[in-house]
Symmetry: C2
Subunit: 341 residues, 2 copies
């Protein structure tokens, strides 16, 4: 018999809870034998959802959590006070070793704070980054960090580069992933104090494939696989990606409705356009992993549907089976050894 | 007779020099009576271009500058050593009061350094920002700063907000322009040290219409008219705008070529799509002004054609006639008075 990976799914998080998280979890169980799902949240609500579905009862358990953390709540407060919330209860299962991963579409702030305070960092990791995949012309790139770690130091960025490389190589199957440092010019001497300090440190790293500075213009073209930046800049990149994309599509759609000729054309191009936009959608790869923790925490979109939850569960299985955290630990110890020399 | 605004055009700057800068300057002269153009650069080259054109000789002069600053050159060095370059000679004309504005498609770095070192800052202005217009769903927004001022302080951002408001109100005709501070969340307490320090200062400013934090996602939707940020973040925003736009268009075009049906559709939608994309093009408004200098410096794209140069000249005329610098000076003195109270 295969070893089961134990994945906690927050049944109360996101705009479509509990339906979509429960559906996604059940769908994942149907496709994978090596999986045990733990649904956490209000038990009666979850049980009611489960009644609608067929699933292997021996591989799904429900853990009750009476409270729900809302999106607007101050995260640190919420994590400290709502001990019986689905996020706190779910993360405690990972902390105690009763589960390998925790997936939530709930409050990003609470997930980030909970990851740090409850699940806890791997020894030697200074800050755990949140690392979503962003679409590029050539596939996907990992944007690291988009989390709550503003005002980062250069040593943090070096760890982001290493963890990001391990993730892209082992989860996304990119061989010796290209690591780029987000900067305002391609030359080494460009940039603010943080990136000027980080550049030589990354250049020295033997265990990553550092390809130098990357200008924001070249990120969508896919010139690198691991896009390293501090969280403020990462957040701007992630959200502007969404914003520019949405505005352009709206403008184009508006333009297509401007004449009879273009309206007919619009009908003809619709299937091709839809297919193109689908290839540009990151949700098919699951959610954004929070790396460097004693276990895996995955943040799925607030608007995640069952498909994204299911993919996040698969991502968690692969994370465990590829022994990502063991690889991060080996890498970080190696990094410390080097410093001692 | 109307007072002429005297605009220097760098005939040697950009990918299409000298043809396009000269053409653009001549085109501007044909449309405006209240304009005197000074073309600066290698005189024989400029004269050869001018032979192809018809123009009012009494309103165009040529000032010789033998050297050219290349895009790759370290800017500070270039400005210091190439005293006979078109950028240095042209900016000196503004400094000496022999011209009102300087327009160049040449090296951005050299233009920024020259603006600071040669043209010089208005008394009280701590850092002169570069402020391009970016397209939004509702028109255009001013992104301030995208210049070389990395590691900015909160007092700089306050000045950017004030100068940007004056520019949008007087040049773009936006009444009480909405000012947003780029941040990673909408709430006041979010952000890095710089924006947390800047937020209350902007809130106190009586002379601007500060609407709070703006997330990068909402910039393309046009929720504010003046987008305030430090230069590193501004540069990322500007270049990612370009990058995401270019990649999406490429993807869409590729998608349209994927089947016969979509190919026919593509032919039908082409005119409407072109029209839509034109409305999304910032070059129709000229170039990016560098604000807070004793005169106006405008940076046009390296790939600027005659049309953009012409529009930058019009922008310079309006800048002078609307007395922008006088308004900035009044505003800054007012700002100092307030501090003394």
């Amino acid at each position: 018999m295969v070893d089961c990976v134990r994945v906690v799914v927050d049944a109360m998080g996101g705009d479509f809870a509990p339906e979509e998280p429960v559906k996604g979890a059940v769908a994942a169980l149907a496709e994978r034998e090596d999986l045990h799902i733990i649904l956490v949240g209000q038990e009666d609500v979850i049980r009611r959802e489960l009644e609608k579905a067929e699933y292997p009862k021996e591989r799904l358990s429900v853990v009750h959590a009476g409270e729900v953390i809302e999106t607007g709540e101050p995260p640190v407060n919420a994590i400290r006070k709502k001990k019986d919330s689905s996020i706190v209860v779910g993360m405690n299962l990972v902390k105690k070793g009763e589960a390998d991963a925790f997936i939530s579409s709930g409050s990003t702030g609470a997930v980030l704070v909970g990851g740090q305070l409850i699940v806890g960092r791997i020894r030697g990791i200074e800050r755990p980054p949140l690392a979503p995949l962003i679409p590029t012309e050539r596939g996907m790139a990992l944007l690291i960090d988009c989390g709550a770690n503003v005002d980062a130091r250069s040593s943090h960025l070096v760890q982001f580069a290493k963890m990001g490389s391990i993730y892209m190589e082992n989860i996304m199957g990119v061989k010796t992933p290209k690591v780029g440092l987000v900067n305002i010019g391609a030359e080494e001497e460009k940039g603010n104090a943080l990136v000027k300090e980080t550049y030589p440190l990354l250049k020295e790293c033997k265990d990553i494939n550092f390809t130098g500075n990357v200008e924001a213009r070249d990120i969508p073209a896919g010139v690198c696989d691991v896009v390293v930046c501090e969280a403020f800049v990462g957040n701007v990149i992630l959200k502007l990606y969404e914003g520019v994309g949405a505005t352009m599509l709206k403008k184009i759609k508006g333009g297509l409705m401007s004449s009879l000729r273009s309206k007919i054309g619009a009908v003809l191009i619709k299937p091709a356009l839809k297919e193109t936009m689908k290839a540009f959608d990151a949700t098919q790869y699951g959610g954004a992993p929070m790396l460097g923790l004693n276990g895996l925490v995955v943040k799925t979109h607030g608007s995640a549907k069952a498909g994204e939850i299911k993919n996040a569960v698969f991502q968690a299985i692969q994370f465990k089976q590829q022994r990502i955290n063991e690889k991060i630990k080996e890498n970080m110890i190696f990094g410390q050894d080097k410093q001692e020399v």
